[in-house]
Symmetry: C2
Subunit: 218 residues, 2 copies
Amino acid sequence: MEDSNYKKLVDMITETIYKEIKPGEEASKLFSIPVEVSNHHVHLTRDSLDILYGKGYELTKLRDLSQPGEFASNERVVLVSPKMKVIEKVRIVGPLRKYTQAELSITDGIFLGLDLPTRISGNIEGSQPIIIIGPKGVLNLTEGALRAARHIHMTPENAESYQVKNNDRVNVEISGVHGVIYKDVVIRVSPNSKLAFHLDTDEANAGNVKETTLARIL
Amino acid sequence: MEDSNYKKLVDMITETIYKEIKPGEEASKLFSIPVEVSNHHVHLTRDSLDILYGKGYELTKLRDLSQPGEFASNERVVLVSPKMKVIEKVRIVGPLRKYTQAELSITDGIFLGLDLPTRISGNIEGSQPIIIIGPKGVLNLTEGALRAARHIHMTPENAESYQVKNNDRVNVEISGVHGVIYKDVVIRVSPNSKLAFHLDTDEANAGNVKETTLARIL
C-alpha cells in the first residue's frame, strides 16, 4: 500500500474511533491518536531566512504537514556544530516563526557533540549552539539547537474528550509489538490544530512505530 | 567526571541498593539495575572471521564489556545493504559465536533500507540480508541483520530477588527526566552474567539515558 493510502486509512480509523468518544468515557482510553514522526528540521525567522536564502526570499511548499498551515519546504540547510560535525539536507519547516531553532534527535546531538536540552518548541534560551548554512549566508548561533519535547497536538474539544488540559504532562502508550510507554508527554491544546502525537526519530524507532501505529493517554 | 568514574559510581550505587534487596521485597521495585547502551555491532563465527580477516585470525581486545568474557575488539567491518547503503567502522564483539549476526538499530535499518525484525540474539532465521566486508574478504549473507530485543542480563540469584524467570517479558522503567517505560523486555538468566539492562542507541536516546541511569522492573 502506498504511504498516502496508509495515511488515509489511519485517518479513517482515528475518526471512527474518535467519533465514539464522549468526554471522560472509557473509550477515551482506546488507541485513537495518530502517531507522527518528525525528522530533524529547522524553524526560521524572517531575518534568518533573509540571511540564509536572500532578502525577501519566500519558502516553497514540498508538502503540507498535519498541523493546519504548517508545511515542509523544498528549501534545506546544512547544520555544523562547534565540533565541526556536519548534518546536510536539513529541511526548513514553514511558515516562518518568531524564533530560529534546530530540532534534533539525541542521536543527532551525540553525532554533533551537543548535549541537547529537551524543550517545548520556541523555548530556546540556554539551548546549544549551532551554525546554520544556506545558499546565501551563514548563521552562527549561540543557542537554538534542542531536542523537541514529545507532545500531543489537540483541539479544545479533543482535550475535553481525553480529560486533559494545555501543558499537562501525561504517559502515552502506543499500539503494536515491542512498544514503549512515553513519560512526560506535553499536551498542547489549540483550536487551530489536528489530533496527533509527535515523536522524533529516536523515540519512534525505539517504539517500533509504523504508519498504522496509534497512541492512547494512560 | 570521567566515564570510568561514572561507571564505578553506578556500580557502587547498584551494589548498595542490590545488597538490601530480599526476594520479592518492595525494595526490588527500586531503580537498581544499571542501564547499558549497545552501539551497532556484529558477532561472527570462526568461519566468518576466517573469511573476513584471514584463516586462523584472532580478535584482539579493545575493552571488556559488562558480561563476563565478552569484549569489544579492535577489529571492525563495513556493512553494505542490498540497497548499496554503507555503514563503516562496525565493531566485532568477541568471543566468536555459533552464528554470524549484525545487531542494528531501527535507525540503521531505515538508513540501510532494511525492515529489521526484533529478535533475541542468535535467532537469525528469516532476518534481513547484509553484506559484511573485512580486510581479507566479503560475506554476502541472505540473513543475519536484525534488531536485538532489549533485555536484562541477570544471575539466578537476581532473578529470585526480582521474582522473574528466564524468557519472561516485563515492563521496565528508567530513572531520570523525559524517561520511557520499555515494554516487552526479555529476561535472560544465566549464572555467568552480570546484572544489566541492555538497550540499543534508539531506545537509549528516546529515554534520555545517561551514564547514571538506573532501571526497575514494574
